[in-house]
Structures are given as C-alpha cells and as structure tokens.
C-alpha cells in the first residue's frame, strides 16, 4: 500500500512539475475562463435580468468548457517520445496511473475554479455566499466527478485523430447530473441558504464522483492496454 501511494505521488509530482515548466494547460484554461467571463458580462442584458441570477449556471459552464481544454491534453505530454509506454512497462498498477492523473487534473481544475470564482466575482458581483465551506464542497465534488470522467475519456481519445473534438462529445452527455445538481447547489448557496439545504446536492454529487472514480479506476486498464 505504501508503495502504491509512493507511485501515485511520483506520478502526480511529475505531472505538476511538467505543468509548472510548460504552463501548457493552465494558460489555456485560465485565458478561456477570463474571456468567457468578459463575454458573458457583455452578453447579459442587465436591464432584463440580474447577472447574479445567472452566475451559478455560467460558472459551471465555464468550468466544464474550460476544464475540457485541460483534460483533453492529459496524455499529450505522455505521448511525446513514448513516455506513456515507460509508465505502462513499469510496475505501476493501471488504477494507480488513473488515480494519479485524476489527482493532478483535480489540482489544475481546482486552480481554474478559484480563478473563475474571482473573475465572476468581479464581473457578476457574486461572493462566496453565506456558507463558503458548503460552496467549496459542491464545487469540489462536482469537479472531482468531472475530472474522473474527463481523464478516463482523454485516455480513450488521445490516439484518435479527432481526439480533442471527440472528447466533449463523449463526456458532456455524462455530465448532465453533475451540472444539474452543481448549478442547483451553487445557486442556493449564492442566495444565502444554509449548508443543510444543499445536503441533497452534495450527496448526489458525492455519489456521482465516487461512481466516476471507481468506474474509471476499473476501466482505465482497458483504455491503455492494446
């Protein structure tokens, strides 16, 4: 078990170090999030609707569209000079590779979410609501499930010529429950309700993430093996 954790840690550390060296995915996701917030800011007619009422939905859409940019390149650096083969011929269980990739992606998407909250706070005057812990719970669980699915399907599409186009087509339909309950929970928390009132959303998002993680860990070996 200790060996397993050490292997996951080595993979996560390597992924984050590569991202810090290249800024490959963070720059793309961050620029996209800021641009979308600016566009939404000017697209919403404030004489008809208060932007805060739309903020939760727009935040989740920005997370999904921005996040898919980063998730789609999960295995791009691994393809360079066959590095993924180096990992797959090492004594690392396939599920450990998957969990490491999810962990690294979750950290990156966590940074994206913080940026999105900041930018939407500026343009849409939304704060963290009355219960920031519950808000981070809703966002974290939703993003975890999204990351698990996105990472799995990124492995499926990486060797496809149409991979980056195919990824959203495959992943987005599976994200419907996450978006529905993520938006619902976030809207309620922006409206200032207590954490207990979003317990249902938290449970469903937690279940969604758990199923996505377990299914991904089990299925990943079939994705990366010939």
């Amino acid at each position: 078990m200790i060996r397993y954790v050490q292997q996951v840690e080595a993979l996560v550390r390597k992924d984050l170090l590569l991202e810090l060296r290249t800024w490959d995915r963070l720059s793309a996701m961050g620029a996209f999030a800021v641009l979308v917030a600016v566009l939404f800011h000017y697209a919403v007619d404030r004489t008809l609707i208060h932007p805060r009422e739309l903020a939760a939905g727009l935040i989740w859409l920005t997370i999904v569209f921005g996040g898919i940019l980063g998730l789609g390149r999960t295995f791009a650096l691994e393809e360079e000079d066959g590095a993924i083969q180096g990992i797959l011929t090492s004594p690392v269980p396939k599920d450990a590779v998957f969990l490491a990739k999810v962990t690294g992606n979750f950290v990156l998407l966590g940074l994206l979410v913080l940026l999105i909250l900041f930018v939407f706070g500026l343009f849409f005057q939304v704060g963290l609501g009355g219960n920031p812990f519950a808000l981070f719970g809703v966002l974290s669980l939703g993003v975890l499930g999204f990351t698990a699915l996105g990472t799995l399907y990124s492995g499926v599409t990486v060797r496809s010529r149409m991979g980056e186009t195919l990824l959203p087509v495959l992943v987005f339909p599976l994200l419907v429950p996450m978006v529905v309950f993520g938006v619902r929970g976030t809207s309620l928390l922006f409206a200032g309700v207590s954490g207990a009132e979003v317990e249902g959303s938290l449970r469903i998002l937690g279940s969604f993430s758990l199923v996505a993680l377990l299914a991904g860990a089990f299925l990943f070996r079939f994705v990366v093996e010939d």
């Binding site: 292997q7 390597k14 000079d81 010939d226």
Partner: protein
Amino acid sequence: MSSPPARPAEGPSRESPAEGERTSSLEAHALVRAFGPIRAVDGVSFELLPGELLTVFGPNGAGKSTLLNLLAGALQPSEGEIRMGGRLRSHGEVEWRQQVGILSHQTFLYGHLTAEENLRFYGRLFGVDQIEDRIHERLSAVEMDHRKDDLVRTFSRGMRQRLSLARALLHDPAIVLLDEPYTGLDVHAAALLRDLLSSLKDGRRTVVLVTHDLTQGLDLADRVAIQVRGRFEFFGSSVELPSGPPDAFYRSVVEGVLGGAGGAP
C-alpha cells in the same frame, strides 16, 4: 537458395524456481500476437538460460518490436505463454514488469524534465533503493553525469539514447530488452554502449537484443534468431551459425520465406 530449417527451442521447463532464487531465465511457448487478421508474432518459442543474450534479426515488419513488447508486458499475447524463471507472466503482471528493463525506439523520457529528474521519476516508480546513489552511478556509466541538471529536450538523439539506457537499467532488471539500441549513436557512443552491453553479460541477466546490424548483433550474442513474418525461421546458438559471411546466411533465410524481397537486415 532454400531456407534452412527453423530450430525451435526445447520445451520450456515448468518448474518454479526455488524460494529466493533470482528469476532471470526467459521462455516463450507458442507465442502469438495478432492485430486483426495479421499475426505480428506467430508461434514463437524459445528458452534462454540465465546470463544469455539473444539477438533477433529480421526485416522490417517481421514482428521483432511486437515480440519485445510482449516480453516487456506492454502487450497481451493472443495465444501462448511467457515465463520468467518458470513463473507465468499472467500470474503477476506488476511483478513481471519490476524485473524487466526496456530500451525502445522511443526513449520514454520527458523533454521538460532534467536527466536527473527523469531518472528519479522512474526510480520512484520502480521503488529503487538508495535512489540518488543509483542515479549518480547510472549517469556516470553512460557518461551523462555532467548534463544531469539539463533539460532532456536540449539533448541530441544519441544523448537521449544513452540516458534512456540508464533509465532502462536503473532498477537493475533481470531481463533487459533492447530494441535497436545503436540507432542514432555516434562512434564513441556506440563503443560505450557495446561496453555497457558486455557488462550486462554478468551471468545474472538475460538480454534480448533486436537489431538490423549483423556485426554488432552477433558480437555479443549467445543465441541468434531470425524472425520473418512473425515466425522464428532460425533459432539457435551463435556457434551453430554456418561458416561464411553472416549476411549471406541471413539473406538465404529471409529470401526462403519472402522470395527476393528479403533485402538487407
């Protein structure tokens, strides 16, 4: 000229090694790997004793790299079995890969990590003890210690190949698989590699070398195989090779299968 008969390996031993014995013999039995209708590896059988070096020759598309990937644990066989020290590969994939080091066409290195960071990463995946000492030792062996802090993307092809060899040997594997290791190496680096390969023949390791270079391939070989269309058309001890130029024998074997399309190894 007709092709000499194939010389299949003797039947593999099914006995498990004694407890604590280092597992280093390698055997394949009726090994097949198909990609759709194409059998890239087609009924290959061989047995290598501890310390032996097998060189596999063959024309392009003969299935040599597929065979190495099967031995490395990167591909699943369609049929047949592979054993290391009597243990089936399928009985412990992770343990199998712990015992194997592979040098491929691709280096498996990350261009945005330094030489030392690449080795440290792989060392952690393989659970290498005293990792810093081992990294220093391997980098010195391939004469790359002076570039340990440089990003791999700044290295020439030959330097990457040397670093990749250090990566493949970092965890002191019992089975070493080398796919065209001389590719991209200059004269000095090729001589360095030859010395390193000689040092691998310490009686503890089994080495499978795939190469097109007959001279370098035969230089260290204990056993020789010529693979054509997935099959071992010749397998035997290097001393069993007929006298005369080896390329003539190679051509006779390949052309016996492919007709006049055998070409150079």
